[in-house]
Symmetry: C2
Subunit: 162 residues, 2 copies
DNA sequence: GCGAGATGGTTTCTTTATGCAACTGAAAAT
DNA sequence: ATTTTCAGTTGCATAAAGAAACCATCTCGC
């Protein structure tokens, strides 16, 4: 029985994976952040099969991360553009890149560097911080049920020994 | 012909996906952040098939995101614990959750809320900011080749019309 | 010390997903 | 008018995911 979907899980990570978790999808989004818009450009940039690309683009359009815009002069010719919801993935892509830079490539071996276009300075690393800007780690956090929590989520979040 | 791997791509996102991109993997890491350590606990929490779980845990151990520790009193009994490299994924999980909270569930419908354990206040949202703390969007950024850039990466980053 | 159950997997088989290659129909370029 | 590009679709081969059954240790109760 094929792959399970996560759509019904009452969890933000699972929901994000429902939209982005398929193979290739996040690389398509990354390319979109780089300014790629056309079917053929995604195809060449990624070396992805056409049928997979078509399916992924449709999935991203369905999830309102990309929008398909007809830009044809005298007929149909499409572009895929990031929506606001898609642009909001910047912290996700950034945190993934920063993690790889530090823990996969290692400092000094980054394949790319992201700068503030205005000042030409590197952007500061993303960090999880408290209200005063002090860095927090996993142990400093406490997860509680929110307003949209399901009964199951509520049960899972009951305090227990760790 | 099976699935392509991204291991050889000279890109942080691709490298992160090589480690985390498989189906289920990120949910296993999420559970690890919640304090889950035992095979059976992951299995029950996720409802994942044992063979897939075993493969994913081995993959995460191989990538040094989890470590497998023998905690048996008089024989083998294992725990999977987050390494420092694994703990460093906190911004990734956080940015995914925050994106879902805002763009999938919507404000006021978050299934979980993450608080600073000390102050009981919600943690501020992760943002990509400049050196002075001002928020940046995709358009404010410029990506240039880093010290570890391959020839291909260098070529792709040549300025071009957007 | 011995059987019952929990733990942590491996093996087998079926169902899906992925990938390649070939094909298509419309738009642009020449 | 013909060729090339574009944006897919279709068909087929293979690899990965999932369920269920199986298995070797360990642990607990007695």
């Amino acid at each position: 029985m094929g792959r399970r979907r996560f759509a019904d899980m009452n969890c933000g990570i699972a929901q994000a994976l429902e939209a982005l978790g398929d193979w290739w999808t996040l690389l398509i989004v990354r390319d979109a952040f780089f300014g790629v818009r056309r079917f053929g450009d995604f195809e060449r940039s990624l070396g992805i099969a056409k049928n997979i690309l078509a399916a992924r683009l449709a999935h991203l359009v369905e999830h309102e991360i990309l929008e398909k815009v007809d830009v044809g002069e005298s007929g149909e010719r499409f572009e895929y553009r990031l929506t606001d919801k898609g642009e909001a993935l910047l912290p996700v892509l950034t945190s993934l890149r920063e993690w790889s830079d530090e823990h996969v490539f290692g400092r000094g071996h980054e394949p790319v560097i992201v700068k503030d276009r205005r000042t030409e300075r590197r952007i500061p690393k993303l960090r999880v911080v408290d209200a005063d800007g002090r860095p927090l780690s996993r142990r400093d956090l406490r997860t509680v049920a929110g307003p949209g929590a399901s009964a199951e989520t509520r049960r899972l979040l009951q305090p227990r020994a760790r």
